[in-house]
């Protein structure tokens, strides 16, 4: 049997460029109203943290990639990227 390692993935999902981001616009306006005039280009997306077990980094990368494609991001309007780190402790 292969030994498994625990990994932690952080997935960032944002709307594709050109897709209307009503949420980003609302947050940008609100920040300005609060006096953060120096702010621009606000985009709001999703952030997913997850733990997974995989024998090696390649496998883990491939699996998270697949999760993004199949569930975490909606490829029609969203794009995603992620980080992968080895989990410390029991996580």
């Amino acid at each position: 049997m292969t030994t498994m390692t625990a990994w932690k993935a952080r997935v960032y999902v944002t709307l594709k460029h050109g897709v209307l981001d009503p949420q980003g616009r609302a947050v940008e306006n609100a920040l300005k109203v609060l006096g953060f005039d120096e702010v621009g280009d606000v985009r709001v997306g999703k952030y997913v943290e997850l733990g997974l077990a995989a024998p090696d980094r390649e496998t883990a990368l491939a699996r998270v990639e697949e999760m993004c494609r199949r569930l975490l991001a909606n490829p029609v309007i969203e794009q995603s990227r992620f980080d992968l780190t080895e989990a410390q402790g029991d996580s």
């Binding site: 009503p22 609302a26 947050v27 709001v44």
Partner: protein
């Protein structure tokens, strides 16, 4: 008395609240735009439901910074009645006028249907026309009504009769099945320490007329009238006193264990 119905961008229950107050109860009522800064001349304030700022970021998160909220805080600090319904409740939470926060409903869906509410404290400005323990049938319609507060806050709410409404079965029993959204302790409505600011997720304004098949929401508005006009018994009913008067106080360990 005069009612203020506050309108934020994206509020959408303002017509309904105004209708109940003005047409059903026959009270003078005005819309107050969120860019206004004064509530002078009003005796009660309604923060209606809806999707202020589209519910973007978090429900109520952006509306709480509207200019009118300063006046709402002063109004509340003066001990005058403020009722926040659904999104209005969420705004009060974000503004810190009520403790806790809302999460998405536990099934992640918007839910629109009747629920049963038990009146846990009938001596507030909002419930003096209800009987203690009375079960009201009033609809909910929200996607984020899953009330959360830390343990200490919850205990404090329970101990001081600040949980005003709880989701229950039609017979009044507190059950998990009667909880439509995952709220801790089946909480549907709470009041501030002083007892003059109420937040509730269900919508009493759509349950105030016989023709619409539901009337249990009307006493909530009538209670406010009675309170303001001084016909509710005492002019001011602090929360602790309310608890003492209520025949039925919530169980010691919070109401999650039923009655």
């Amino acid at each position: 008395m005069r009612w203020a119905v506050v309108v934020f961008p994206g509020t959408n229950c303002e017509l309904d609240c105004h209708h109940v107050v003005a047409d059903v109860l026959g009270q003078p009522a005005d819309f107050v735009w969120h860019k206004d800064t004064s509530l002078d001349g009003f005796d009660a304030v309604v923060l209606p439901g809806g999707f202020s700022y589209g519910d973007y970021l978090r429900t109520g998160a952006i509306a709480r910074f509207s200019p009118i909220m300063g006046a709402v805080e002063e109004f509340a600090a003066a001990g005058r009645p403020v009722i926040g319904i659904c999104n209005g409740f969420q705004i009060l939470l974000e503004a810190g006028l009520l403790p806790g926060a809302m999460r998405r409903n536990d099934n992640l869906k918007f839910r629109c249907h009747d629920v049963h509410l038990r009146v846990e404290n009938a001596a507030t400005p909002f419930t003096n026309r209800c009987r203690p323990g009375q079960v009201l049938r009033i609809p909910i319609k929200h996607g984020e009504g899953n009330y959360h507060a830390d343990r200490a806050t919850l205990e404090e709410l329970e101990r001081n009769g600040r949980v005003v409404f709880r989701y229950v079965a039609p017979d009044g029993a507190v059950t998990p099945a009667a909880n439509p959204n995952g709220s801790l302790n089946n909480i549907a409505g709470i009041i501030n320490e002083r007892g003059n600011v109420l937040g509730m997720m269900p919508h009493p304004e759509i349950a105030a007329e016989r023709l619409l098949g539901m009337e249990d929401g009307r006493p909530i508005f009538e209670s406010i009238v009675a309170y303001v006009e001084g016909t509710a018994g005492a002019r001011w009913v602090p929360a602790a006193a309310a608890r003492a008067r209520s025949r039925e106080t919530p169980g010691k360990g919070g109401a999650a264990d039923g009655r």
